[in-house]
């Protein structure tokens, strides 16, 4: 065949076997390296944080039992009880979520069930703008707007200048667009036929939204809430600016209290000496943060995979 086709110009028959291109293999190797790079990042995080956290616990001032039980975190006198940092983190998170969950659900139900397409094209960019503002700007907002507002409502002697309430409230506004967009996605994924069927049975719009669409999208909503919590725990700049400096074991939202992230930022501002106890302690706190948020993210992914209703 080949002889006929090439009219005798080519002696050898055309080789149709797959050739190995050296360049192609090199490129594939490079691409594979890029792909696997993210695994190195994770290994790097776990290794570095784990290593320095272990060093932290080998310091003579620190012991694990004290860290897990004590309610005093005072590095300068060698007291490293994790609880004041944890409780303030929980407090800001709870305050943030108590704003973000009801508002986020309401806004997403309004966007997906009630709003006209025109309304949606106006509202969605506004939410995107809210989501795109750097967190340090929210920190400024918390300190310069929310704190004076709270102080004028509850009184200057009740509300301290730095307090977890204003940080938490503003964090709620920060997380609102995140929860809204994730929830809205899962609400719009609920097929029209379900709504039509409910309308056909004589349900009102609210009943369709709350009793048909919402339960059908529950897995997506749960995932959104968990991602929101994870984001709130890891949020740094708002609490660093507005929640106050200095660990404080308190459940009063109007008092200043430093969160895990806020403590890391304050300690590491300026030149932190390597291998000092402060240096090692931020790795321990970072490991704690990383484990909590990773667990939450994995739970959220599991929920989506396990409980998602798949419609045809």
């Amino acid at each position: 065949m080949a002889n006929i086709a090439t009219n005798g110009l080519k002696k050898k028959p055309l080789n149709l076997r797959r050739k190995t291109h050296l360049g192609e293999m090199l490129i594939q190797g490079l691409l594979f390296f890029s792909g696997i790079f993210s695994i190195f990042t994770t290994i790097g995080i776990v290794y570095e944080l784990g290593k320095e956290a272990l060093l932290f616990f080998q310091m003579p001032e620190v012991n694990l039992l004290q860290t897990l039980t004590s309610v005093e975190w005072k590095p300068h006198v060698g007291k490293f009880g994790i609880w004041p940092l944890v409780t303030s983190t929980l407090m800001t998170t709870v305050i943030a979520m108590s704003i973000a969950i009801p508002l986020g659900l309401s806004v997403s139900i309004y966007l997906s069930e009630y709003a006209s397409p025109k309304m949606r094209t106006i509202l969605k960019p506004i939410l995107e703008v809210l989501a795109g503002i750097p967190t340090i700007v929210y920190g400024y907002f918390a300190l310069m707007f929310m704190t004076p507002l709270l102080r004028s409502i509850f009184g200057n002697d009740v509300v301290q200048i730095y307090n977890t309430a204003s940080a938490g409230l503003v964090m709620g506004i920060l997380i609102l667009p995140l929860i809204t967009s994730m929830t809205e996605d899962s609400l719009s994924a609920v097929p029209r036929s379900l709504r039509e069927a409910a309308y056909g049975m004589g349900a009102t719009k609210l009943e369709v939204a709350l009793q048909v669409v919402l339960p059908a999208a529950l897995s997506g909503i749960a995932a959104a809430v968990i991602i929101g919590i994870s984001r709130a725990i890891g949020e740094t700049m708002i609490v660093a600016v507005a929640a106050g400096a200095g660990p404080n074991f308190t459940f009063n939202p109007f008092e200043g209290a430093e969160t895990i992230t806020g403590h890391i930022v304050r300690i590491s501002g300026g030149d932190l000496a390597y291998d000092s106890i402060d240096y090692n302690s931020i790795f321990f706190l970072g490991l704690l943060l990383f484990s909590i948020t990773l667990t939450l993210n994995i739970i959220s992914q599991r929920i989506v995979r396990r409980f998602r209703e798949v419609y045809e």
Partner: protein
Amino acid sequence: MKEKIAQPDYNVNIAGRNRTGTIWRWFFQVSTIFGIIALIALLLNIIDSSFGYVAYEAKVDPATLALNGVPLEEQSKEQLVALLQSKLSKGAFNKLDKDESFEKRSRANVFQIVNERIIKYEVVQVWDLWSSLTKSADIKATVAKDFPQADLKFISWLTADFITRPQSSEAITTGVRTAILGSLWTILFTILFAFPIGVGAAIYLEEYAIDNWLNRLIRTNINNLAGVPSIVYGILGLAIFVRTLEPLTSGEIFGLVDATTANGRTVLAAGLTLGLLVLPIIIINAQEAIRAVPQSLRKASYGIGATKWQTIWSHVLPNAMPGILTGTILAISRAIGETAPLVVVGASTAISFDPTSPFSKFTTLPIQIYQWTSRPQPEFRSVAAATILVLLILLLSLNASAVILRNRFSRRY
């Protein structure tokens, strides 16, 4: 059982159900409006602090420093240096010269030093825009009574001068030039690092990766990395880029600095840290863009005998590029706004020199906002507000370019 069928448990009270519906609908709308109000309040709050009256005193009246009728602002660098030499003590002058020789300093920098060391503007009080507009007479009376020496001026804290001036320790003469340049330098290295690796990873995952445990692990891992708090990346950057790779990030292996003074807290370390942070975002966006390129294009390319890489390079990538670039711009705007990781990596807060190389110390816009917001003096809150405006304008123009890119080059198949 029969009774239940006879008396269905649905509520036939249509009017009541509709009323409930209206109330809830109202609640949903109010929540939405709350979101809008929050955004407006945030913007107004920033604008409110960026403009307004300021009362300030100068230790030395700048008018007395005019040289042969040439006002201070128009004097040359040499004249300003001469002025510094005559007004400052010898030790102080030599110390400045030692920090960075006067020959190398820019005129703006020298002018800044004149402001700081000789004129010494001092803000005595600031007012926000709202009270400046409504209580103008009161403010003037207060200043005339309490601070007879002070000048009262209605100013915008955000001016062209504010953007081009280097940083200084006084609110009224400070600027964000150092911070803007620091942000740009940092982002440059973030892009150089994260863009090739991010796009490479996306190509690998979409075009080459078969469905095995390793590739599934890579995918899950990227999704998990996207959810890691930014401060954890800062800690990682501190451990790896600042400490372990200090010879590289301080420029020591290139012979640029002494091993004894080498410090890894540089532009390069910050850029690489932010690169790790935005890598998952770039990968996820690039994957989506590559997935959107139709299979028919690839088939056609293979059909005429192209190799896999030729197909990707000449057909898949050009078609996916607008999507990839849009995703990258969004990642960059995330990186520009990041504060926490850079604080941990070790941004310097008080430097007045422009960054000139990857191995310079640096500060960025968000770092300056953080630093100025944390100061007790109210005038620095106004400076912070003006810096926020600069940052927001920068982000807005980045996002606008992403939208334009998406609309201009988006193709539908």
